[in-house]
């Protein structure tokens, strides 16, 4: 069976976040913004203050980067597709 990446395994329903909310909380250290694109794509351009965690590394590194499970995390990739 295909295993889902840990960040997708949210308890309850899947939450979405709007651009406005991200903009308003950019400077908030309690709010983590995660870019799941490959390193090269991340370097070419990303939302300020976001952390790069490529999808391929989510399984291995997510726990290390965010050990607290209740941490507020927003993930994004290239677009809606």
């Amino acid at each position: 069976m295909k295993q889902t990446a840990p960040y997708m395994k949210t308890s309850g329903h899947k939450h979405t976040i709007s651009r406005e909310e991200i903009l308003s909380r950019l400077e908030d250290p309690a709010f983590a913004l995660v870019n799941v694109m490959p390193k090269e794509t991340f370097e070419a351009g990303h939302i300020p203050h976001s952390i790069n965690l490529p999808l391929s590394e989510v399984e291995t590194k997510a726990r290390q980067i965010f050990p607290v499970l209740s941490r507020e995390i927003s993930v994004y990739c290239m677009g809606p597709t």
């Binding site: 976040i17 651009r19 694109m37 952390i51 499970l69 993930v75 994004y76």
Partner: protein, 307 residues
């Protein structure tokens, strides 16, 4: 066991870029200092007098001097050409300046004298040329002023940069000193702890206070690592991280042999473990040397113990 507060930004980069929101690039971060100097959003604004001065002020010293000399030479040619073509040119003494090479020299000389607002009066403009001469006087003064201010501000910019650097270093020094104080304080408290079975209340207060200092400095270091605006030198950062690790280890040792904890102490401990938990080699917005990463990982390990 899974994350409970995950949100998905469905629009992603495409939506973000389309909305015109700021985008950060890695090369841009590296050249942040340079970049701030190059961003000059003048094109979109209406160009007024003040903006013209802004544009002039943004030119480099070389460009300004070149422009200034260019204006003087061009005006000199205009004075001379006016004499050749239209008959109303310059007058030196009682004779008009002739349209030959000597005349050209005189015209350029007059142009310099006017632009520098010296105005000897040995050569005078005739007729409509007087308006041109006044205009040149104004332009020459303005541009020359820009050249002078550039010379002065260049030194000033150096000084401001120096001040920024020293303040930043002072701050790092303060963090280092405070961490050292916390460490020695924790050592003393540990000593007392071993001599008595339980800590006397005044020592407990001391523990609380040094823990508060430690929390503050941990916040500073956390901020330093996550906000990429200022970059400390690698050695300085390493010594900070090493001190931080020692303090954290000492704190954990002390807490293990000690059962009394006040409410304030517990609240601070929670902050410490949360902050330290987020310091690890791989999760920083910038990549660091392996030695630094090791310290960071060690800090995270200790934070897990604390929690």
């Amino acid at each position: 066991m899974s994350y409970t507060n995950v949100y998905h930004y469905v629009g992603g980069m495409t939506d973000w870029v389309e909305s015109g929101a700021p985008v950060e690039r890695v090369e841009a971060l590296l050249q942040a200092a340079q970049a701030t100097r190059h961003i000059q959003p003048v094109s979109a604004r209406r160009v007024s007098w003040a903006n013209w001065l802004d544009i002039l002020a943004n030119w480099s010293l070389k460009q300004l001097v070149g422009f200034w000399l260019g204006i003087i030479i061009v005006f000199g040619f205009v004075y001379w050409a006016a004499g050749v073509g239209m008959g109303w040119g310059l007058q030196a003494g009682n004779t008009t300046v002739k349209p030959d090479f000597v005349g050209l020299g005189t015209a350029i000389y007059f142009s310099f004298v006017t632009a520098l607002s010296i105005g000897y009066g040995d050569v005078i403009p005739l007729g409509p040329l007087r308006i041109l001469a006044v205009a040149e006087g104004i332009a020459g003064l303005l541009i020359f002023g820009c050249v002078i201010s550039k010379l002065v501000s260049r030194r000033q910019e150096e000084l401001v940069e120096e001040i920024h650097r020293t303040t930043f270093e002072d701050r790092l020094d303060r963090v280092r000193t405070n961490l050292h104080l916390v460490l020695s304080d924790l050592g003393t408290i540990d000593q007392i702890n071993r001599e008595h079975s339980a800590l006397p209340s005044h020592v407990l207060k001391r523990l609380e206070s040094s823990e508060r200092v430690f929390t503050g400095e941990l916040k500073t270091i956390h901020d330093l690592l996550y906000r990429t605006r200022l970059l400390p030198e690698e050695d300085a950062l390493e010594s900070l991280l090493a001190n931080l690790t020692l303090c954290l280890a000492a704190l954990i040792d002390l807490l293990n042999s000690q059962t009394q904890r006040s409410v304030g102490l517990n609240a601070d401990l929670k902050t410490i473990s949360n902050l330290a938990n987020e310091i690890c080699g791989e999760c920083m917005p910038r990549s660091y040397a392996p030695a630094l990463k090791q310290w960071m990982d060690q800090i995270q390990e200790l934070a897990k113990k604390l929690a």
